[in-house]
Every structure is written in C-alpha cells, then in structure tokens.
C-alpha cells in the first residue's frame, strides 16, 4: 500500500506541475493562434470569394 501511495503522490505532483505549465503555455500562445486563425480564414475567403456564402 505504501509503495502505491508513493507512486500516486509522485504522479499527482507531476500532474499538477505539467498541467499548470500546459495551462500557462496554452493560455498565452493560444491568444496569438486565434489571431492567426482568423487571418488565415480571411485569406482563404479572399483567395476564393465564390466559395463564401452570406450567413443567414
């Protein structure tokens, strides 16, 4: 039981650390990605205006 507890303790600490780092990276980097995403969609529409329909 103690060996399992130690294993889960290490896993839990690792999970918290990794998840926290992931959250920070995604939170900051995701903002830049959203801006890029909308620029790309606009560029695709400009490149092929016939493929775009007006939203109802």
């Amino acid at each position: 039981m103690n060996s399992w507890l130690m294993f889960w303790q290490v896993l839990l600490i690792g999970a918290f650390t990794l998840f926290g780092l992931l959250a920070i990276i995604v939170a900051v980097g995701g903002l830049f990605d959203i801006r890029t995403m909308f620029r790309r969609v606009d560029a695709q529409h400009d490149a092929d205006p016939t493929d775009h329909q007006s939203a109802p």
Partner: protein
C-alpha cells in the same frame, strides 16, 4: 428517487452574476464568429487553420467537460487513489499516438473531414452510411446523460433543491449551447473552448490547492485507507477495479479516446499538417492524463470532507464503505465545492464548469450533426446536396439533437450507472471503428464485407449494460459466474477485429485493382 445532499452552500447572487456574465459573453462570441462562416470547411474544421496551441486548447476544452469532471470526481470518491490509473493510461495512450501517429497521421494525410468519410474512401459508400448511422446513434445516446450530470452539478453547487428550477436552468443552458453552436460552427467552438480551458484549468488547480490546505494531506490519505483499504491504492486488487478493468481502461481511456473517438480525431483533421497533428497529441497527452487525475483528486478530497460530516456520512456511507448509489455519489464533488470555495471563486468555478458543460455539448452536437449530413444524408442523395443545404441541414439537426437530449436527460428516468452507460454507448461505436481504422489504414486486404461485419459487431456491446443482461437472464445466479462489463467490451473489440480479418480473407473486394493510394490533400505536409 435519489436523495439530495443538502449541506448549505457558499453560492450567492454575486456568484450567479459571474456565471451569467460569462455565459452572455460566450454567446456574444458565437454570434460575432458567425460572420466568418462560409463554406462547409469553415463550418466544420475552422478552414483547417488550427495551430498547435489553440488546437490543444480546443481539444482539451472539449474533452475536459463537466461530465468528465463529475464522473472522474465520482471515481476518485468511490475508488480512491487507485482511480488515478485511468488518467495514467489515458496519458500514455495519447503519448503513444503522438509518438507514432497511430491512426491519426494517415487519417489526416487523406484529408478526410470525418471518420465515415474515410470509410467510403476505403470500403465504399454503403460502409460509410452504415458507419455514419452507428456513429451518430451511439454518440447521441452517449450524450444522453450529459444534461443529467449538469443538473446534479448545479443542484450541489448552488444549493438548488427544487427539481423544477434545475430543469428550467438546464433548458436555458441547452438553448444557449444551441444558439452559438448553430450560429458559429467550429470557429466559435475553438474560441469558447480556449476560454473555457483557461478558466477551468486554473480553477481546478486552485481548487486542489484550497482543498489540501483545508483538509490536510495526511487526513486525505488516512480517510482513503479507512474507507477503501488496499483497493483504494492498488488498481489491480480483485476487490477494487481489478486487472480486466485496468486493461479496459487502457483501451478505452487510452487508445480509443485519443485515436478513435471522433471529437478528438476531428481536431486532428483541423490541424494544419501532420507534423502539427503529432505535436498536438504529444502535448495533449498531458491533458489527457490530468483531465482525469485532477478532478479525481478533488473527488478524494470530497470523500475526506463528507466522511467527517455527520449529515453527509449518514447518506453516503454504510458500514464504513461508500454506498452503491450513483445519483448520491455524483453529488459529492459539487457539494464539497459549495462548502469550501469562498464567494466569488465559487462563481468562477461554477462559470468554468458550466462553460465546460457547454463546450462539450457544442463540440459533440457539431460532430454528430456533421456525421449525419456528410456521412449519411449527402451520400444517400448521391452527393447532390448543395453547400447551403448541408449547412442548413446541419443546423436543423443540431436543434433536433438538442431537443432529444433535453427530453432524454431531464425527463426520461435513467436507471443505469452513469459510467456504464457512457462506456457501453461508446463501445457500440468504437469496437467496430477500431477494426475499420486499423484494418483500413494498415492492411491492404481489409475488405468491404469485413468492414460491415466489424461495424455490426458493435451492437454486442449492449450486453455490457446490466439491465440488458438482467432482462436476458444473464445474471450470476443463473449462469453460476459473473460476466463483467470489462470482459464484454474487450471481447466485443476482439471479435470485431476477428470478423474484419476473417470477413476480409473469405470475401475479398472484387475491385482490388482500384488505386490504394488516396490523393493527398493540399497543405498536409509543409
């Protein structure tokens, strides 16, 4: 009817204001994103423009839903630290998929928008239609308990004890989900998933910190030892989860969730290229692991808190063990949060959880509606549906599915354990899908007949549902032994693979001369 855990709550009108402000803002984003909806590609896969960081956020934003948090917390409550094995195998499974590109890379390379689209490329239109129907039915049924989970969460967190009030709130929420899902398609999902991921991830971590500070680590460990004993730490213990359950989790929470479950695979289809796909899974493996472990730990903290509360312990524990009442044990985590989180923070957590609830709904609604349009309706009509007709049909289907979910989840009395229900409905789809994907992508001799047999085999997963087995008399009393759910799911998976192989060898495709190399779509590898 399950009794309501009523211990009071810290949730105030200020917290309601936080929740409402967040939900209104989310709808506004969806409406704003509507002006970017153009063709079906835009609607479904954000114009294939997702980069890795936002791709990770949107994947995890959909996969870390309220239901996952509720179910995971319940598993932590009822299984102790041993439940962490589910998160561990989930992370390892996603890591393996990221390192090897198993299924997802060759799938992305083919440029398909959905898994059934691959079915047609590989096996023909008939397989696509059948596969699409099975996928959509299984997926929609799988969603059938989501609103129920949301209702239980709201009841526990806010102290609402009137069932009618909860039903009205659920109805309002499904309307909000339908509104921005119908209007924005994938683009609004990407943005709202990002916001929800950020809010929920920081909220859950903060909750864990507060829980340990309030309860103390030693008290948490001692409570698990007292209530669960050795099975609370050792997942292979026969009186706990057991070896077959661990293997089932390695399959379902591991490989299936990462490489076969459609919502995760759709995110891969939305990636810019195959390099981004692999990067997506490598980083997302952290999320796949932690989306289970973090809420499970909160569930363990809820166990500690409620075990020492006289009112709660009377309902939740019998002879020092957790009662076998799913409706009651699902309330444990939200009730625990309602007691330890301070005013303001409880509103933020509530907003984050409700946002997670909505992001999961909109992702799945979009997924199943697109399957029914692209993989059933359009192929059946010979591919003659116009772009506008497909988008309109998708929006109508989203609405109809939403109505079904509302009726099914709120007013239809579910009697099954929530995890059993999710596992069985998912298995109806993935047992066949895994065989088709593995066979179709990696074995040239996989044939149409093999595909049909493997798909139809998925129906056998229904026997994993206890009420079905009881109705057919397949009980331990009559058989003399117990058929465990894990055995049925694993057995059905193996049988589907076997039928794919045998069916393909016995009935090879006659037109094997057709090109085996499918056209690689633009932008696959840069």
């Amino acid at each position: 009817m399950t009794e309501i855990l009523d211990l009071g709550t810290n949730f105030t009108r200020f917290d309601w204001a936080i929740v409402v402000a967040y939900l209104v803002g989310t709808v506004a984003i969806g409406i704003y994103a509507n002006r970017y909806v153009g063709n079906m590609s835009d609607y479904i896969v954000a114009g294939r423009s997702l980069n890795s960081r936002i791709g990770i956020a949107t994947m995890l934003g959909s996969e870390i839903g309220l239901v996952t948090v509720m179910y995971s917390a319940q598993k932590g409550f009822s299984g102790g630290f041993a439940a962490f094995h589910i998160g561990l195998v989930a992370g390892i499974g996603a890591l393996i998929v990221g390192l090897t590109g198993f299924i997802v890379v060759p799938l992305r390379r083919r440029g398909v928008m959905t898994i059934p689209e691959f079915y047609e490329q590989r096996f023909g239109r008939g397989v696509r239609v059948l596969g699409g129907v099975i996928l959509a039915v299984a997926g929609i049924l799988n969603m059938g308990v989501f609103l129920k989970a949301g209702a239980i969460f709201l009841t526990g967190l806010t102290g609402m004890s009137n069932p009618n009030a909860v039903n009205v709130v659920m109805t309002i929420l499904i309307i909000l989900v339908l509104t921005y899902t119908i209007l924005g398609g994938m683009l609004s999902v990407v943005i709202t998933d990002y916001l929800q991921f950020v809010l929920l991830s920081f909220g859950l971590l903060l909750t864990c910190f507060l829980s340990v500070r309030y309860l103390g680590w030693s008290e948490v460990v001692d409570t698990v030892k007292t209530v669960h004993g050795e099975p609370g730490f050792n997942p292979f213990h026969g009186e706990g989860f057991g070896p077959s359950y661990v293997v089932q989790m390695a399959l379902t929470a591991g490989i299936i969730s990462a490489a076969v479950w459609p919502t995760a695979v759709m995110r891969a289809c939305a990636a810019r290229d195959t390099l981004v796909v692999k990067r997506l899974y490598l980083w997302s493996s952290i999320g796949f692991m932690t989306r289970f472990i973090v809420p499970m730990f909160i569930g363990i903290c809820a166990l500690t808190f409620l075990y020492n509360d006289p009112t709660a312990s009377r309902l939740l524990f019998a002879d020092g063990r957790v009662v076998d009442d799913v409706g009651l044990t699902l309330q444990a985590m939200p009730v625990f949060l309602s007691r330890i989180l301070p005013i303001g923070l409880i509103g933020l957590i509530g907003a984050a959880m409700l946002a997670a609830f909505m992001s999961t709904h909109d992702s799945y609604l979009l997924c199943w509606a697109s399957v029914l349009v692209e993989d059933v309706a359009n192929p059946v009509t010979g591919g003659s549906m116009s772009e506008r007709a497909r988008i309109t049909t998708a929006r109508v289907l989203i609405f109809l599915i939403g109505v079904f979910l509302l009726v099914w989840s709120l007013w239809y009395p579910l009697q099954q354990d929530m995890w059993d229900y999710l596992a069985v409905t998912a298995a109806i789809y993935f047992t066949g899908a895994l065989a088709l994907l593995v066979g179709g992508l990696y074995w040239k001799r996989a044939s149409r007949v093999g595909a049909y047999l493997a798909l139809l085999c998925g129906g056998l997963a229904l026997f994993a549902l206890p009420p079905v087995r009881e109705g057919l008399g397949l009980t331990p009393d009559r058989l003399g032994f117990e058929i465990r759910e894990a055995h049925i799911v694993l057995g059905t998976t193996a049988l589907a693979m076997t039928l794919m192989i045998v069916g393909s060898l016995l009935f090879p495709d006659r037109d094997r001369g057709r090109p085996a190399a499918f056209p690689i779509r633009e932008g696959v590898d840069e």
